[in-house]
Symmetry: C2
Subunit: 241 residues, 2 copies
């Protein structure tokens, strides 16, 4: 009952969490890639998701600050490069702003976070706090939703390209590098969570961290769904299409 899981069994359980809880199964995602949303609803999604994108390097630097060796820090530093860019090639945040530009949102308004849903803010901030406050093992494990992201990205890009005349390959350019970056990140993080735990309790922490992360991605779509789909009641001050 409390025996250490084999690496294979641990990975199987991580995958099972994704199958149950990853936000690819959220109704809002289905509406998004299925072409059922208005341009205003897609704008609301891109605007809110910007805060998640912009917070990822803060989250990753928080982890870099806690990692004990140059080797581990270099590994995680690559994520900073992916999201902040190198001053020449645009990083993920810049590419996300190309998406909000392409959707006709004012860039200053997006970056100001003025129209953000409070629910988005709480969920994203909970992620940064988790990575700051929990064990290193849990902090690393919380990145493992990237195991599932190539799948959702493929659905999203194909579906959005097919169903919306207001998006183009150019606007969706954010996603292309992620298809190759995420698997590199996952290879390291998955190996780390397989070889680090010495007890079943630690393995359970790994599983718990992935559940936590799935929940916070899900909660962001809940907030969008409530505000912009059904019942469609954006809170005072939030973006209105």
């Amino acid at each position: 009952m409390t025996d250490l899981l084999s690496a294979q069994e641990l990975e199987a359980r991580l995958n099972a969490i994704g199958e149950e809880r990853y936000h690819i199964h959220h109704p809002f995602h289905r509406l998004l890639h299925g072409g059922a949303l208005t341009k205003g609803q897609v704008q609301a999604w891109a605007l809110n998701r910007y805060y998640y994108q912009a917070s990822i390097p803060r989250k990753d630097a928080t982890l870099v600050a806690r990692l004990p060796t140059p080797e581990l820090r270099r590994e995680w530093r690559r994520r900073l490069v992916d999201h902040d860019g190198d001053g020449v090639a645009p990083g993920g945040i810049e590419r996300w702003l190309a998406l909000t530009d392409g959707l006709g949102l004012d860039r200053d308004y997006v970056v100001s976070l003025e129209g953000l849903l409070p629910g988005t803010r709480y969920a994203v901030d909970a992620y940064v706090a988790f990575v700051r406050d929990r064990s290193l093992l849990e902090a690393v494990a919380s990145s493992l939703t990237e195991m599932f992201s190539p799948n959702i990205i493929s659905q999203r890009v194909a579906g959005m390209m097919k169903n919306y005349d207001f998006v183009s390959a150019e606007t969706l350019a954010y996603f292309t590098p992620r298809l190759t970056q995420a698997p590199v990140d996952v290879a390291f993080a998955l190996d780390y969570v397989k070889r680090t735990p010495r007890t079943r309790a630690e393995q359970d922490q790994v599983l718990g961290a992935l559940r936590f992360k799935c929940d916070l991605l899900w909660a962001q779509l809940d907030a969008l769904h409530h505000a912009y789909v059904s019942p469609g009641l954006p809170p005072p001050g939030a973006f209105r299409p």
Copy 2:
């Protein structure tokens, strides 16, 4: 009295702090570069200073996690590369370990921190905490001892090469890249602390942060001097030459 200082005047006051408080004026530094120390005393210096070197990327990643824009984070990320390396070229920590190797210290013992002086630990940890807890302006300003480091490095390298037969250009290779890295870092940080403050109180915080940093470098040499020079009483558990 409380008028905003000109950028020039602020820089002059920063320089004055260095002239008064930078650890180039500490007796231990004079003994070190003057050839007055035994090999055991130089080992104690390198062993203790290792903890400072190894903590710098934690300090810098702590700041990266707090910086608000990709541009600022990229600027500060370069310091992570300088100290942790890129997996090909060795970073500052690796080069410091070449120094402790060259001085005949066991690398595992150095990295274990077992022989560290508590005074070194407290001073270094105070630096990381300062960068985590103070304003961004103060955190950036606390890096400004690099304004003075090319000077101390030149003295140290020339003096040690001339005076000790147990050091070589190879052992001291840590310092060479710092002569070019530090001025690049300073250029940014100095510009930042000149253009950010809107009040004299903020400018005073900048000056205070540099004083704080000078003090903690000084305190590290105090601890070394007390333990290994005069009276020469290493505390229980600390490295004994």
